[in-house]
């Protein structure tokens, strides 16, 4: 295929993926009436003041609950991904670097966890959490977010390939404890994989919707996805929410974009590292 044709195809797909985001940006700068009345993909004359007015409304509506939702999402996704990554890394590392009975069995069970959709587990989790009175608490969303079977898989594969057993033996001879070796030596070697796991977990938790929908009642605990969904379901009653949902959706993807761009450096260099040795 010629270079021109390749560029054309890429251009078409880029357009395809960016158009909805462009629409979101444009619509965020319109008033409720203008969204339906003006050209959907271009700005109106007073776009900039309207955008800031919408933004202001978003953060003040209903006592500023949207800010609270953003903070909740940041907590669930940020801390959840961080702790989840540590757990997945330790688990994958152990499976890769230690030999013990049942190792493959454990790995296979974890791996089969990748196949079970999170939505299928939400209801059983709800019933269990009801028994221990954890529903409608922060923990109901936070604890299940820590689990990442795919992260374990990735950590194992990467640890097996990038952490030389000789290095671990050398560390042992020098008197380093297993935990210390893991945290000071191995995690550094595994860094690109850890960044990937973190990113995947962050995105998955940020976008998670069904689990919070089932677990949470108190809107002060909602993540931003559930909050926007609740607003969206009330549009026929309170039509001015339409604008807030659109602006809110735009604001809610900004942290994802920021995280991606911020971690991209580690991520892209990591996955390609050593491929042409």
């Amino acid at each position: 295929m010629s270079r021109g044709a390749a560029m054309l195809i890429m251009g078409v797909f880029t357009l395809y993926f960016l158009t909805p985001i462009w629409w979101l940006l444009v619509s965020s700068s319109k008033t409720g009436g203008d969204i339906t009345g003006t050209a959907p993909l271009w700005f109106t004359a007073d776009s900039i003041p309207t955008f800031f007015a919408n933004l202001g409304n978003l953060f003040t509506y209903s006592d500023g609950v949207f800010g609270r939702w953003l903070a909740n999402s940041a907590l669930y996704a940020g801390l959840g991904a961080l702790v989840g990554t540590v757990i997945a890394a330790m688990c994958g590392y152990a499976l890769a670097k230690y030999e013990f009975r049942g190792r493959e069995a454990i790995f296979n069970v974890v791996l089969s966890g990748v196949l079970v959709p999170a939505t299928a587990l939400a209801l059983p989790l709800f019933l269990i959490f009801s028994q221990v009175k954890l529903t409608n608490t922060l923990w109901a969303v936070f604890l299940p977010s820590l689990v990442s079977p795919f992260g374990v898989y990735l950590a194992r594969i990467y640890a097996a390939a990038s952490v030389p057993t000789e290095l671990l033996e050398a560390a042992r001879l020098d008197g380093s404890s297993e935990a210390r070796t893991f945290f000071t030596v191995s995690t550094r070697l595994m860094a690109p994989a850890l960044v990937t796991i973190f990113l995947f977990q962050f995105v998955a938790i940020w976008n998670n919707f069904f689990l919070p929908l089932i677990m949470l009642r108190d809107q002060a605990l909602f993540p931003v996805t559930l909050g926007l969904y609740a607003w969206n379901s009330q549009i026929s009653q309170i039509p001015e929410l339409r604008v807030l949902v659109i602006v809110g959706a735009l604001v809610s993807i900004l942290p994802l974009i920021a995280t991606f761009l911020g971690l991209q450096r580690f991520w892209s260099s990591g996955l390609g590292a050593g491929s042409v040795k």
């Binding site: 409720g32 009436g33 969204i35 339906t36 009345g37 209903s62 209801l123 059983p124 709800f126 019933l127 269990i128 009801s130 028994q131 009175k133 529903t135 409608n136 929908l213 089932i214 949470l216 009642r217 108190d218 809107q219 559930l226 969904y229 609740a230 969206n232 379901s233 009330q234 549009i235 026929s236 009653q237 309170i238 039509p239 001015e240």
Partner: protein
């Protein structure tokens, strides 16, 4: 039961959680059946109340200020069918449902059949409250049974016709009072390049409101058996009527409440909207450019001089099974839905049109509305509300019925099959759904 292997602990936890959940809901069922009384609790209580009406927390603040002993905590979530009902069922199963929940009338039979509601008939003041509510709404919460009140009516959606007074006048077309005139007007309006209205293919409950007006009944429940009748002669009449308008292309088929839909109202492409009382605010915000040009008239009638009205929407405040304080919960529910201050605030913040008869005395509903050229539109809706057939019953699997029928409506508006076919299919699927849930059906 003893578990020998550590590995099995997780599985055991799941199984025991499920069986405990089963036990606890079973116990609460028998307990309430035995006593069938409703006594005050000793000491202060705290009630939880799940609702999705915006601003309800502010209304509840009013109550909490005056009732330190019965504190109500508001929880929220998405619209009923968007997830809150499913949550209620999950919580009922787990034995931790909120004390009170907002439930729309068309979903109440589902909760009743699944034994998810407390009977409040024995609670002080509940049975006597009957006269405070519009007759048909009381029928919705009692299911026509003796000594049973399963919820307190909250709001209602009496239907009338919003119409573009200016356009009708300019064109010299008479504002229709019967469905025949409506069809004739549709033809004239089509000739001018606009539509008389939009057929809402996804809102089967709107269609049901029309069948309700025509005197039809989709469900009835006699001798503990459900009878399903989506294809009775009234339903057939309504379906064929709209089918004709669709066939002639005299109504549009935009998805309701979508941007295009709002735009077509805003640009004057829609001349009428037969809708519920809450539609007033939908119009005002979706079609701001047409302010002052709208008016409200009663629904077109099947027989000239008739007064029948349908209903679209409305909800109740129910006390969910397993609540430890049904006495206090029913006190709160009665206050919430009859206290003038509470009703006024719920209307202002949440746009609710109360089911209480006293609604017409509230300031919010007595004056003229600018968007409708200063017309006192709520008088029309109050009149409509008193003309709604009080005996209409919803079925226990409405969500499923809505989905099945709206699938068929979608096909019909795309020129594939008819509205009546959709109802026939819905009829069959509904019967299957009832059977699969072991709900007795009369065939």
């Amino acid at each position: 039961m003893r578990v020998r292997y550590g590995k099995a602990t997780a599985a055991f936890a799941i199984v025991s959680a499920l069986s405990l959940a089963g036990c606890s809901s079973g116990e609460s069922t028998s307990a309430t059946q035995d006593t069938n009384s409703c006594k005050p609790s000793s000491g202060p209580v705290e009630l939880s109340f799940t609702t999705w009406v915006p601003g309800m927390d502010k209304v509840v603040d009013l109550w909490n200020k005056d009732h330190p002993d019965i504190k109500v905590k508001v929880q929220t979530g998405p619209n009923g069918n968007s997830g809150t009902y499913q949550n209620f069922f999950n919580q009922l199963q787990a034995g931790n449902a909120p004390d009170l929940g907002q439930i729309e009338y068309d979903a109440l039979p589902n909760f009743r059949v699944q034994d998810g509601l407390e009977n409040l008939a024995a609670c002080e003041g509940v049975a006597d409250a009957k006269d405070k509510f519009v007759d048909w709404t009381w029928g919705q919460v009692t299911f026509g049974e003796d000594k049973s009140v399963y919820a307190i009516p909250q709001d209602s959606g009496p239907m009338a016709m919003f119409y573009r007074a200016d356009l009708f006048k300019e064109a010299g077309i008479k504002v229709p009072t019967t469905w025949d005139e409506y069809a004739a007007a549709a033809e004239q309006i089509k000739a001018r390049g606009s539509y008389i209205t939009n057929f809402p293919r996804g809102d089967v409950n709107w269609f049901a409101g029309n069948v309700w007006q025509a005197g039809g009944q989709w469900f009835s429940n006699a001798n503990d058996k459900w009878e399903v009748n989506l294809t009775g002669k009234e339903s057939e009449k309504v379906a064929n009527y709209w089918q004709k308008l669709l066939d002639k292309g005299q109504v549009s088929t935009l998805p309701s409440f979508s941007d295009e839909w709002n735009a077509s109202f805003n640009k004057g492409q829609q001349w009428t909207w037969v809708s519920a009382v809450w539609g007033a605010s939908t119009l005002a915000s979706g079609a701001p450019d047409t302010a002052g040009k709208w008016a409200v008239a009663p629904m077109p009638q099947w027989e000239a001089g008739g007064k029948a009205a349908g209903n679209w929407g409305g909800s109740s405040t129910a006390v969910l099974k397993g609540s430890k304080h049904p006495y206090e919960a029913s006190k709160f529910a009665l206050w919430l839905n009859t206290d003038p201050e509470a009703l006024a605030l719920a209307n202002k913040l949440g746009g609710l049109y109360p089911a209480a008869k006293s609604a017409k005395d509230l300031g919010a509903f007595s004056g003229g509305v600018d968007y409708f050229g200063g017309q006192k539109i709520y008088e029309v809706f109050a009149e409509a509300s008193s003309n709604v057939n009080p005996d209409f019953t919803w079925g226990p699997t409405m969500t499923k019925t809505y989905t099945d029928v709206s699938d068929g409506f979608g096909k019909a508006t795309g020129g594939n099959g008819t509205l009546l076919d959709a109802l026939k299919n819905g009829q069959q699927k509904t019967i299957e759904a009832l059977k699969s849930q072991s709900i007795p059906v009369k065939e």
